[in-house]
């Protein structure tokens, strides 16, 4: 056995590599990897744990019941509150754990910051600007300038859609500040 030493060293090297591989593998690969497939099983729970940021119009109606009723019974009930006002999660968080109608002024001011106040012009154009692809049943205008010309003398540069058109009920009331 002239070469016994060679074989011993080779065997030791192979053994260390194999044992080392399985040791490192046990440390690096998560415990629940490969339980249901080639992925980490707890990743599903991680994804599902995220908090929804859109709270839904029914949650808005819990406090803003008057405007929610007007919106729901009107013609404009298909767009949801958060379509124009943005996601409401932070708004409910700022208000606190027990929201009531009578907020302290400070709280109301902070919560108002957490919700988006629509400009009353760009939001309308998302749906109601006329393009060729939109259905004719959808009320839409070709451009705002043409609409201004149509109502000449009653519009200024700062006029917004919501000055006359109530976005919650779609009722049209010529605004006083515009007509002056």
């Amino acid at each position: 056995m002239r070469h016994a030493g060679h074989f011993a060293r080779l065997f030791a090297l192979v053994a260390i590599t194999v044992v080392g591989f399985f040791f490192v593998r046990s440390k690096v690969v998560p415990k629940d990897f490969g339980v249901k497939g080639h992925f980490r099983l707890s990743a599903i729970a991680d994804e599902a744990a995220r908090e929804p940021r859109h709270i839904g119009s029914s949650t808005c109606a819990d406090c803003h019941d008057e405007i929610a009723t007007a919106w729901r019974t009107g013609k404009h009930h298909t767009p949801q509150c958060e379509n124009c006002h943005g996601p409401g999660l932070m708004h409910t968080k700022v208000i606190g754990e027990e929201p009531t109608k009578a907020y302290p002024d400070k709280m109301l001011a902070v919560s108002a910051l957490a919700i988006k106040r629509p400009t009353g012009l760009t939001e309308c154009k998302w749906c109601h600007l006329k393009t060729f692809e939109r259905p004719s049943t959808l009320k839409s205008i070709t451009n705002v300038e043409a609409h201004v010309v149509q109502h000449q003398g009653t519009f200024t540069a700062a006029t917004k859609c919501i000055d006359c058109h109530n976005p919650h009920t779609t009722v049209v009331t010529p605004a006083k500040k515009v007509i002056q």
Binding site: R2, H3, F33, G34, K36, G37, H38, F39, R40, A43, I44, D46, E47, A48, A49, R50, E51, P52, R53, H54, G56, T78, P79, Q80, E82, N83, G86, P87, T122, K125, W126, C127, L129, T131, F132, E133, R134, P135, L138
Partner: protein, 275 residues
């Protein structure tokens, strides 16, 4: 054997014979396996995929499905904005987007999607070629919302080298952001352009069908915000669900069916020009 081999122990003839026998035998068996794997006839493939299409998923636990009714979409972009707000999608990237298809008399089709339709749509851009007729008013047009198709045979999961892309029992394709190394191989593998590399997290990201919402009994943000009911989401394994009714009473199509990825997102009123 008593000791290590010396060159004299094996004759050249014996060595060559052994090599030829072993090599020949393994080549024969190997080619047999390869032949059975590769020589599947096209009609067999068609039969298999037809069977897969007919397979019903009713009563197999919760399996989510998504239907996009392109005939109802008005192109307001509410879904795009809701998705961005709900999932914190960085600017310039989209998990869902809306495409505006406009057809002109000379046969040109213009596809437009400014910011994915996030700021709504204006009049479509003029055709790229010089107008040959005086009246270049469009003759036909529609909107097509796009999102991840959550394919049954996903190319994106197959290519992931670290097991960061996976499919849940509900059929939702998700990304494990702890494991993802950001190689973006899946971004290239997806034939629908549904994935992107998040510039902040530096991991691949995609539409999750709002998995964090639907597992809490809510609708995905895009479905909840759609004012035209152009997006329908639900459990396809429940025969009494709305989506099952819609799938049973409509003619639905999928995008790029020729790729054989078997998408779970299905479309009503899909035009042949839509890619």
């Amino acid at each position: 054997m008593t000791g290590p081999l010396t060159p004299d122990d094996v004759s050249r003839r014996a060595f060559l014979e052994t090599v030829a026998k072993t090599g020949g035998t393994s080549f024969l068996f190997g080619s047999l396996f390869v032949n059975t794997a590769l020589l599947r006839l096209p009609q067999d493939e068609a039969k298999a995929s037809a069977k897969a299409r007919r397979e019903t998923e009713i009563g197999k636990g919760v399996i989510y499905g998504f239907v996009v009714d392109t005939t109802k979409c008005i192109g307001c972009g509410s879904c795009v904005r809701a998705c961005r707000a709900e999932n914190g999608v960085p600017d310039g990237y989209n998990r869902t987007w809306v495409e505006q298809y406009t057809f002109y008399p000379d046969g040109e089709v213009v596809v437009n999607s400014p910011n994915g339709g996030e700021n709504g749509f204006a009049e479509p851009p003029a055709p790229r070629n010089e107008p040959t007729v005086v009246d270049q008013a469009p003759v036909r047009g529609f909107f097509v919302p796009k999102l991840c198709n959550h394919c049954i045979d996903t190319p994106c999961i197959q290519v992931c080298p670290v097991g960061a892309s996976y499919k849940t029992d509900e059929g939702v394709v998700l990304v494990d952001h702890e494991r993802c190394v950001g190689c973006a191989y899946c971004v290239q593998a997806c034939p629908f352009g549904s994935r992107y590399l998040d510039p902040v997290k530096l991991t691949a990201d995609k539409c999750t069908w709002c998995y964090h919402r639907v597992t809490k009994g809510l609708l995905p943000a895009c479905v909840a915000s759609c004012p035209a009911e152009a997006r329908i989401f639900g459990n396809v394994s429940d025969p009494s669900s709305t989506i099952s009714h819609i799938l049973a009473t409509n003619r639905v199509q999928v995008l790029k069916s020729y790729l054989g990825t078997r998408p779970r997102t299905r479309y009503i009123g899909l035009d042949s020009e839509v890619i």
